[in-house]
Amino acid sequence: MSLDSKAIIAKRIAEELNDGDVVNLGVGIPTLVTSFLGDKQVYLQTENGLLGMGPRPPIDEVDPDIVDAGKSPVTITKGAAFFNSADSFGMIRGGHIDVAILGTLEIDKTGEIANWAVPNQPILGVGGAMDLVAGAKKVIVASLLFSKDGSPKLVDELTYKSSGERKVDLFVSEYAAFTFEKDGIHVIDIYGDLSIEELSKKLNLPLIDKTVQYNA
């Protein structure tokens, strides 16, 4: 997949963020969001115990005691705070993270996601995925719409294991942005060269066009 596809997603999600938001970023595409923030100041929380995470340091300034949730070295910004894991997940579960931006393996038509366990493989890691899904004020999924084998990630029913019954608020893919409402899947933005009808056909899912309303 081209970097462009990922950049489309990251840029669109950056637009959703507000100045002052506290944001938790999953690995992969979510980490690209910071490149498109412009003047907006957001505060990055990492669940291993830091609010106020800055970018990766130069190699000669790496401190193995300052890492993100993926155990990669990071820096801290002015106004940062350290805390223990129980307090960190209290923050997450307690609804104090404005936005969690997560990758996913699958997402169903109700907005329930599966982002931790691949079927037929040993499932031995969950990390903070389920806590973020359950607890963040707003959950945005950043993901390509199709897997490498071409199968859609947006599906009628999850075939992978659920990350929790809480539905996400927004799914941004390289083709379109979706929300999940009582009457079905809403398309609120479309970017690619596929029409909503074509997307619906490829996904084998009904889609409701809300691009006009949303952008009015």
Partner: protein, 226 residues
Amino acid sequence: MKKLVNIDKIEELVKDGDRILVGGFGATGSPLTILDKIARTNVKDLEIVSNNLGENGQGLHKVFVAGQIKKAVGSFFTINREAVMAWSRGELEIELLPQGTLAEAIRAGGAGIGGFYTKTAVGTELSKGKEIREIDGERYVFEKAIRGNVAVIKAAKADKLGNLTYYATARNFNPMMATAADIVIAEVDEIVDELDPEIIVTPHLYVDYIVQTGYKKERGAYVESR
């Protein structure tokens, strides 16, 4: 300083079949010196409670390689490939918990809380067989507190009484683990005369023994200093 002991003291404190709480998030905040020592003892059938089983061949990875671990309770073993293989072969028992549930269960274990209801993992495989309760219109999973026979943790500074402070994201699970075991052993970088009462994270009453770390940081990694 009364609580300061030689690393060999570990041999007396850790016993076959013990459930050991091990601080750290990967190698960050992991009591590497103590774990090296455990890996050199003959202690076996350990149940380890830790986020994962070490990183980069350090810490708990050595204890795992030495064949001393019977069961691991944690949140992210995917990166521990050898452990995953051992699990596939039925040689290692693994209990997986969401990271926040793990942290909270250990805190509860240290705080006289028998169990709690968390909103995390409702509707997932990790809540299967666990009680679900609706409280004020929201669904929660019941989780029991976790305690250990021994906790081995890593702190930055200890004062003469054993009060502890941590450094940066090396804090992680260490403060909760310090509260939730019968015997608590802290590996520290430095022993100072006094710490500001406002910044102490782990008050001394939680700490039974202190050992001096044998590691230092060099070029972004932890290396043995002796």
